[in-house]
Assembly symmetry: D2
Homo-oligomer: 293 residues x 4
C-alpha cells in the first residue's frame, strides 16, 4: 500500500521500518528531519511537508506523543484533515483521549475520509522487532483493508469495535492495568522493606507466581530503582491515567484504583520526578512509609 507515516520517535521509527520490510511504499515525515533520514537508507521517501506526506496516499499513519500533537498535525495548516485524499484512511496509533478520537472520527467523516484507531502495546524494541500487540477499531471494511499493515508491525491484532475511540479505551485500560501492577509492587516493596525482607526476594517469588515478562521487567526496575533513563516517563504515565479517568467519567464509571495511582503520580511530579520512569511512583510510596528513598 501507499503509506504516509508521520511521527518517527522510537515507536514510529520501528513501525515504519517493518512496513518497509513488508514491501509497502512509504513516505515519511517528522518535525525534526534527522530521524526521517535514517529511514531513507531503508527505502523510505522523505516528505518536505505534512501536505506532501498525505498526497496520493491510500493511508496516512500517525504516531505522536499526545492529544495536542495529534490535533496539531490533523487540524493545523496543510494538516491531514485538509490534505488527505478522499476515501483515504487516517490510521491513528498514538495513545490519545477517547474524546479526541471521537472528534477525529467526526471531522474525517465530514470530509469523506476514513478513520481508524490502531494504538499498540509494546516498547521500542518490540516495535523494531515487528512484534507489537495492535488494537484496532473503526469501520469493519476499512479495518480489513488495512489488515496487511497491522500484520506487518505486530504479533497479534485485536478488533475492539466499530467506533475508533473504542480502541483508545482499550489502550488506556491496558496502560491502567500496567500502572496498577506498578502501584501494587510499590506498596508491597515499601511494606516488605520495612519488614526487613529483601524486596528482590519478593520480586523472584512474584516472577515464579505470575510467570509474566511484564512483571519480571517492572519488578526488577522498581526493585533496582532504575528510573533513569526512563522507558516511559512519569509525565506521560500521568497523562494516560488522566485520560483513562476522563474516558471512564464520560461513561459514568468510577475507577478508584486509577484515582489512587493518579494521586501518587502527581505527588511524584511534585517531587521533581516528571522525567523519570513512571514506575518511580515507588518513591512516593517509599517516602510515605518513612523510607529515605
Amino acid at each position: 500500500m501507499k503509506i504516509g507515516y508521520i511521527g518517527l520517535g522510537k515507536m514510529g521509527s520501528g513501525i515504519a521500518r517493518n512496513l518497509l520490510r513488508a514491501g509497502h511504499e512509504l513516505i515519511v515525515f517528522n518535525r525534526t528531519g534527522e530521524k526521517a533520514e535514517a529511514l531513507a537508507g531503508e527505502g523510505a521517501h522523505i516528505a518536505g511537508s505534512l501536505g506532501e506526506a498525505c498526497r496520493e496516499r491510500e493511508a496516512v499513519m500517525t504516531m505522536l506523543a499526545d492529544d495536542p500533537a495529534v490535533a496539531g498535525v490533523v487540524f493545523g495548516e496543510h494538516g491531514i484533515a485538509s490534505s488527505l485524499e478522499p476515501e483515504s484512511v487516517h490510521i491513528s496509533q498514538s495513545t490519545i483521549s477517547t474524546r479526541l478520537a471521537k472528534q477525529l472520527a467526526s471531522e474525517h467523516r465530514n470530509r469523506g475520509h476514513e478513520f481508524v484507531s490502531a494504538p499498540v502495546f509494546g516498547r521500542p524494541e518490540i516495535a523494531e522487532a515487528g512484534k507489537l500487540v495492535v488494537v484496532v477499531a473503526g469501520d469493519r471494511k476499512t479495518v480489513e483493508r488495512c489488515r496487511p499493515l497491522f500484520d506487518a508491525i505486530g504479533r497479534a491484532t485485536f478488533i475492539a469495535g466499530s467506533e475508533p475511540w473504542q480502541a483508545n479505551a482499550v489502550k488506556l485500560c491496558g496502560n491502567f492495568m500496567i500502572a496498577s501492577m506498578i502501584e501494587a509492587f510499590s506498596e508491597a516493596y515499601a511494606t516488605l522493606r520495612k519488614c526487613a525482607v529483601d524486596h528482590h526476594l519478593f520480586r523472584e517469588v512474584m516472577n515464579e507466581l505470575f510467570g509474566s515478562p511484564i512483571y519480571k521487567n517492572y519488578g526488577r526496575i522498581v526493585a533496582d530503582q532504575e528510573f533513569d533513563p526512563p522507558g516511559f516517563t512519569l509525565m506521560l504515565g500521568l497523562k494516560d491515567i488522566r485520560l483513562v479517568l476522563e474516558a471512564a467519567e464520560d461513561v459514568n464509571a468510577p475507577m478508584p484504583l486509577a484515582s489512587v495511582i493518579r494521586n501518587h503520580m502527581i505527588s511524584g511530579v511534585a517531587q521533581g520526578q516528571e522525567d523519570l520512569d513512571w514506575s518511580s511512583i515507588a518513591r512516593v510510596l517509599a517516602r510515605n512509609a518513612g523510607l529515605e528513598n
Copy 2:
C-alpha cells in the same frame, strides 16, 4: 523424616500426599476424620488425637484456615505447644497474621521447640501436583534441615528471612498482588462494558500483553462472572487483605491500594457475596458503574 501433619483440607491433603510419595513417614490428624482415612490408603497413619500426631515427631506441620484455627491447635488442650517433643520443629503453612507468627515463634522458643513459617502459593490442584511455591522463614539451620520437605511439595522454595513472620509478610503481600490484579480487571471491565467494548476482547489482549497464567485464569473468571463455586472465598480474601493492612500498619507502611480493595470486599460481603469467589468484587465495581451485574 517423621512428620505429623495437621489439617487435611484441599491444600493439606495434596501436600501430605506428596510428602508420602517422597518417602516420609506421616501421621495425620484432622478435626473431621474422613479426610484422614483417604490418606491411610496411601500409607499415612491416622492419629486419634492432636497429642498423638505430635509424639516422637521430628516435625509437625499445620495447614489450617485462619488465626483462630492455628491458635486453637497450638495453644488448646493437648495442643502442639504442650505435646511437641523438645528440639522438634513446628512448620506452619497457613496464611496467618504476622502477629500470630511472632507469638508462635516466641512461645515455641520458650518451650525449646523450633518454629518455621512456610506458607505456600498455589491452588489445590497445584498442591496435588507437588508444584507449589514455598516461602520459608526461620532459623537457617532448621530451615535447611527441613528442606527435603519443601522440595517434596513445591516447584520452588524461597527463603524470606530468619524470622518466621517474614515468610507470612511475603505470603500476605503476594495475595495482595493477586487481589490488585483482580481489582484492576474489575475496574477496566466495568469501564469497557460501559464503552460497549466486549470485555472478553480485553481479556484476550491482556493475555497477550502479560502472558501470565494467573491473568489468564482470573481474567476469564471475572469476565464470565464464574464466582460460584469459589476457588477462594471473598470472606477469606477479605481476611488476607485485613492481615496485610495490619502487618503494614505494624511497620508504619500505608497501603492505599490495599485499602481500596478492602472497602470493595466489605461492600461485596454487605451484598451477600461472602461465600462467592473473592474476584466477585467485580460485581461491586459493576454496580458502582450503574451496571445491573
Copy 3:
C-alpha cells in the same frame, strides 16, 4: 456605579436586586427574558442584547452556570470581550475553572479591559438577603474601585490575591470542604444505621459538637434523604469536584479525599441521580453498605 448584569438565575437575581437597592444603575440581560422583567419593576433597565448590556458600563458582572456558558457570553458574537468599553471591568462571579479564569484575565488584558474574579458562597436566599460571602481576586486598585458592589451583596468580602484565578481556587476549595462534610456524614450515617443507631440522633450530636449552620442543614437533608428538589445538583457538584482536582493537578497537588468524593459522585450519576441534590452521594455509600437506600 453603572453596571451591566448578565445571568439572572436564582443567584444572579438576588445579587442584582441588592445592587439596585444600594443605588447602582443596572442594565440586566438574561438568555430568557422573563427573569429580566421581574427586575424591571425594581428599577433595572433591560438590555435587548449582550452588546447593549456592555455599552457605557463601568462594570459588567456575570453569574452563569459553568465554563461553557461563561466562555460563550465572553467570546461569542457581540460578547463581552468585543463589547466592553476600554478600562471597564468584567467581574466574574460564576464558579468556573482556574484555567478559564486565567484565559479571561489574559484576553481582557490584551483588549485593555480589567478583569476581576468574585465568586460567592451562599444559597439563593442568602443572595436575596445580601448576605453572601464574597471572595475577590485581581488588580488591587480595580478591586478597591469595585468594593461598593461587594459590600452591597455580601456580609463579608475576602481578598484572595492579585491574580483573578486565585479567587476561583478558593471558591473551589470551599465547595470541596462542604462536599467533604457531606461525604463524612454519608459514611457515618451508613455505618450507624447498620449499628441500629438512629442517624437522626447522630445528626443532633454533630449539631451540638460543630455548632455550624452548614452541618445542621446538610446533616438534616442527608438524614431525611431530602434530595429532590435539589439545592445544588449532583451534576454541578461533580463539575466542581472535577474542577478542584484539575486546579490542584495544575499545581501538582494530590487531593485523595477529593478523588474519593469524585468516584462516589460518578457512581451516583451512574445510578441516575444527576438531577438530585449533590448530597445524594449518601445513597451510594448506603448501597455500598448493603442498605436498601
Copy 4:
C-alpha cells in the same frame, strides 16, 4: 450518689471535679497517686487500691486511654469485674472499641452488674467547665438512674441506644467527622499554598462559611502548624480511626474516607509524628504536594 472514679488524666480530673461540685460522694483512684491528691482538697476520698474504689459504690466510672487500659482495670486482679457490688453500675467513658464494649456488657451481665457506655466529646477545658457532650447507651432504667451524673458533667446528654456499644459507635463516628474536617483542611491548604494563596485567608473564609468553633480551632492549628504540644496525639487519633474502621467492618460498612485518613496518619507516624497533634497529617499532605513542610 456514691461514686468510684478511676482514671484521673486531664479529662477524668475535670469530670471528677464537676461530680464533686454537684454533691456526689467520690472516691478516686489513679495509677499514679499525685493526681488523686489534687482532688482530695476538693472533697474526694482517695482509694489505696482498685478494689477499694469499687467497694460500696452505686456506680464506678472509668476514663482511661485505650482498650488495654480499660481491660486491665476491669479484668485484672482485684479489678472492677471482681470488686463491683451486685446491681452496681460500671460507667465507661473511655473511647474504646465496640468489641470491648460488647465484651464488657456481657461479662458484667454474667456477674449481675449493670454496664453503661458514656463516652464524651470535648477537650480538657470543656471537661473542667462541666460542658461536655455526653453520649450514653445501655439499659434505659439504669441510664435514667445515672442521669444526674451526666447532667453534672455535660451541657447535653444524648441516648444512643439500649446496647452500650452503640454509644461507642457514635463516639468513634464523631471523631471520624472531626478527622475528616482535618483531612479536608490539609488538602485544601496544600493546594492553595501551591496556588500562592495565603491559607490563613482561606481559614477566615471557612470560619465565615461554617461558623463553627471546631473549624475555627483546627483551621488555625493546621494553618499555624501548631502541632506541639498536642491537644490529641496522632497516635491516639490513629487508634480511633482504626477502631471506627473495625466497628464499620463488623457491620459490613465500607468507609473509604476513613481509609484515606488512616493511610495519611500511618504515613505521619512513619515520619516520626506520633506524639504531635493528630492534625499534623497536614504535613503528610504538604509533603505529597512537594512543599517543604
